[in-house]
């Protein structure tokens, strides 16, 4: 099983809403990532978790709040987002920080209205 599962596939939320994106993997990977991708742009790194601890935060606004409750699950909590936050959010995982194969989920399409 080399699958990273992201839910929901599509999310529309208002600027005052609170919602969450979920990412799950059962490959025993201990490094997990959130990327944001705008149209016609490359993925931009947001957060890295290593062994359930936040190891990299790429100066992401606090309206995005990551959480890693266990080694299989990664959440991205969303609150008071702006329309410019509309994008594809990609989750990825890797066996360890030193591992050499990274697996991507299919992404969650977020639209902020």
């Amino acid at each position: 099983d080399t699958e990273v599962t992201q839910t929901p596939k599509h999310l529309v939320m208002g600027m005052t809403n609170k919602k969450s994106l979920k990412c799950e993997q059962h490959m025993g990977h201990r490094a997990m990532y959130w990327y944001k991708q705008k149209a016609k742009k490359p993925p931009e790194l947001m957060f890295v978790y290593s062994y359930e601890k936040l190891s990299i935060n790429e100066s992401v606004p606090s309206r995005f709040s990551p959480e890693c409750p266990n080694s299989s699950l990664l959440n991205l909590h969303l609150h008071a987002l702006q329309p410019e936050d509309s994008a594809l959010y990609l989750c990825a995982s890797k066996f360890s920080v030193a591992g050499n194969t990274i697996y991507f989920g299919e992404g969650s399409w977020l639209t902020v209205v």
């Binding site: 990532y33 993925p43 790194l45 990299i56 030193a98 299919e106 992404g107």
Partner: protein, 111 residues
């Protein structure tokens, strides 16, 4: 910080012909990995090929091969016998502790 540069925003190739996509990167590390990902309109990131920096031999995967020049920090992708299904955005990526992407090259395949 590591940077990845793809200098070709768009490329076009005739079906069955060969095309090469360019990528350069900058790093002070000696141990890292390089990748080419394909992203079709569905936006799924599909791994095309991977190269370990410590390996001198260029990676190949069927019709896809790379020209890895470590000293020059160059990592180009060659697609042979291009097919219509190869049309997509191609991203070059660098990995050590985290993965960084180039800006991408949009490949069009003409029938």
């Amino acid at each position: 910080a590591q940077t990845v540069t793809q200098s070709q925003p768009e490329m076009s190739v005739q079906e069955a012909e060969t095309v090469t996509l360019s990528c350069t990167y900058d790093t002070s590390e000696s141990d890292y990995y390089l990748f080419w990902y394909k992203q079709p309109p569905s936006r799924q990131m599909i791994l095309v090929i991977r190269q370990e920096a410590y390996k001198q031999q260029n990676a190949t995967e069927n019709r896809f091969s790379v020209n890895f020049q470590k000293a020059a920090k160059s990592f180009s992708l060659k697609i042979s016998d291009s097919q219509l299904g190869d049309a997509a955005m191609y991203f070059c990526a660098y990995l050590d502790n985290d993965m960084r992407f180039g800006a991408g090259t949009r490949l069009t395949v003409k029938p």
